[in-house]
Amino acid sequence: MAKKPARTLDAPQRGINDDIGEEKRLTMYRLQVLIRESEQRAFDLFLQNLVKGTSHLSLGQEAVAAGFAAAMQPRDLSFCTYRGHAHTLARGVPIEKVLGELMQRDNGLMRGKGGSMHLTSVEHGVMGSYAIIGAHLPIACGAALRAQYKGDGDVAVCFFGDGTTNIGAFHEALNFAVVWKLPVIFVCENNLYMEYTPIGDVTAVEHPAADRAPAYGLPRIIVDGNDADEVYRAALAAYVKARAGEGPSLIECMTYRHSGHSRADPAKYRPHGELEKWKERDPLIIYRARLKQFGVADDIIAGIDADVKRRVDEATESCKAAPPPSLDLLTADVYADGGFAWRN
């Protein structure tokens, strides 16, 4: 179990510049609001049939993305799952590029060629969102292998859900990363459900990631994934370890998704009252209280809320006005020559 940080909601340090500090906290708060508003907007746009295909929202899981992004260097590389909107936004990818991709418009991150499950922005270090469970853990190992080979201090971070811990690639990647001491951080967002099935019903151990860590010689790390400060501290420690050449970390963040697995899932399998109980521990409620306890004025918080809402509104309008992708994209970029020719 990770050591509980000394400062909690019960021990406010009003006005004191602690290990995190106000500027970093405001950054993390803004990111969480941004993710909340953007994901809620994606859901609303889905109801209007403007978001097509599928989408997997991170409502309720904002603190994990915000905490890690706040601990990263710009050159670090993120690898996400299909539930990757949050991590993509957290790296600074413009909202309209994410919403545009969800809405399959020409202004989208990949101009509609990837869709909701494959958000990628190499210039922001978002090295892809992967929709086959477990696939990106070995891929993140490869990015970490390059960083180790070049010795440039870059770190790869790989986010995945609790369900991923039961697929082979998870175990192959962990062993690989430890054996080669790779600078990679594996982050399990344990939201208690693999898809529709409770993770505990199908897993041999209580903590699907952390309880497997000792099998690979790694410490067992569990953090409150709804508290961005705790996530941030755990992330920083893992980055320090990785940059020191001391190898990978596996961190299990306990959290909860407020919506279903995907847009088609009303999540009726959840026990009565469970969602309400978790909503009392909503990352945004926790963090607003945290900011107040550290002396941040209400109008600053309200100002961030209003600014993010305005930006999401503007992004929505620009996406609605954007054209669909041009038809010549259909056969573009299958191969490096830009086309799809497989014969002469």
Partner: protein, 326 residues
């Protein structure tokens, strides 16, 4: 010019590229200190060290995933999958990941990697260590697929594969490892997507790949000597990109087409070529195209069974003769 085995050509080809480019790294199971289970990579660990030549756990998904991650961030990895049959346990990377990432990301992600693998029958290893699986991968958009038949082509096509900006699946044939061929001194760099006419002829075109090339060549010699049928043998070499120009030109000259394929019959590479020829050169043909393949069976272990499963020189001769007579 020196005589070299196909096996030794693999190590020479990898070394050539690793000397040229420090971003080329090589890893797989038992490839470093042990020198490879087929002894194809002997000496590389000693020459380039453990940072660039790495022994991996038995984790094919980790091997191909790591190759992909290294490739998309700037290295030029060569990854070995010991037997091509094992593609089945890491097929996600081949079918879903490095083949599609460029397209899905609208050109942002690039995966210049090479997957080398030992393919094909003849070792009496049975159904799970003997398959020819080129058709498993040639159907996947985004991949390039080559299968050399000579030591010279091993070096030249491997160099072309390493230098190519797309992911390349590189099939080495287990039964060709001990075979020898003349190899020029110095750097050899070939071109993906080019077939070779290895024996000119006027009466019929025989297309072959990897181990089937020397068999087709021998069959062509016997067809000429014993039956007066002058066959042109084309080593297809590269399935993607496919050199349809060389193939169609050959059929345009000979007016007959035979394919010799080691894969089981359904959906073999020859089926695609026959369909192209039927579509684009139908009126050049003087008779129906004929595919000579392994039957639609898993491969048996016993030598007398395995030997009759694959297209043999005798079967090629008989099938071509019968078709040309009719």
């Amino acid at each position: 010019m020196a005589e070299l085995t196909y096996r030794d050509a693999v190590a020479r080809g990898i070394a050539q590229e690793m000397v040229r480019d420090p971003d080329v790294i090589f890893f797989g199971e038992d490839v470093g200190k042990p020198g490879g289970v087929f002894k194809t990579t002997v000496g590389l660990y000693e020459q380039f060290g453990g940072k660039r030549v790495r022994d991996c756990p038995i984790s094919e998904q980790a091997i191909l995933g790591a190759a992909m991650g290294a490739a998309m961030t700037g290295l030029k990895p060569i990854a070995e999958i010991m037997f091509s049959d094992f593609f089945a346990v890491c097929f996600d990377y081949i079918a879903n990941e490095f083949s599609k990432s460029r397209y899905m990301s609208n050109g942002q992600l690039k995966c210049p990697l090479v997957v080398r693998t030992a393919n094909g029958a003849g070792s009496r290893f049975g159904a799970q260590h003997s398959q020819s699986v080129e058709n498993w991968v040639m159907m996947i958009p985004g991949l390039k697929v080559v299968a050399p038949s000579t030591p010279r082509d091993v070096i030249g096509l491997l160099a072309a594969a390493v230098r190519d900006p797309d992911p390349v699946i590189f099939f080495e044939h287990k039964s060709l490892y001990p075979t020898k061929g003349e190899v020029p001194d110095g750097e050899i760099v070939d071109r993906l997507g080019s077939a070779n006419v290895v024996r000119p002829g006027r009466d019929a075109t025989i297309l072959a790949l990897a181990l089937m090339v020397p068999r087709a060549h021998e069959a062509a010699g016997r067809l000429k000597a014993e039956h007066g049928i002058d066959c042109e043998v084309v080593d297809v070499r590269s399935l993607v990109p496919l050199d349809t120009r060389t193939i169609l030109e050959s059929v345009g000259r000979t007016h007959r087409l035979f394919t010799v394929e080691e894969n089981p019959r359904l959906c073999g590479w020859g089926a695609e070529i026959v369909s192209i020829v039927a579509d684009e050169a139908f009126y050049d043909l003087d008779g129906p195209p004929v595919r000579i393949t392994t039957p639609h069976i898993p491969l048996p272990a016993a030598d007398i069974l395995e030997d009759i499963a694959l297209p043999t020189v005798e079967r090629i001769v008989e099938r071509v003769r019968r078709s040309m007579d009719s």
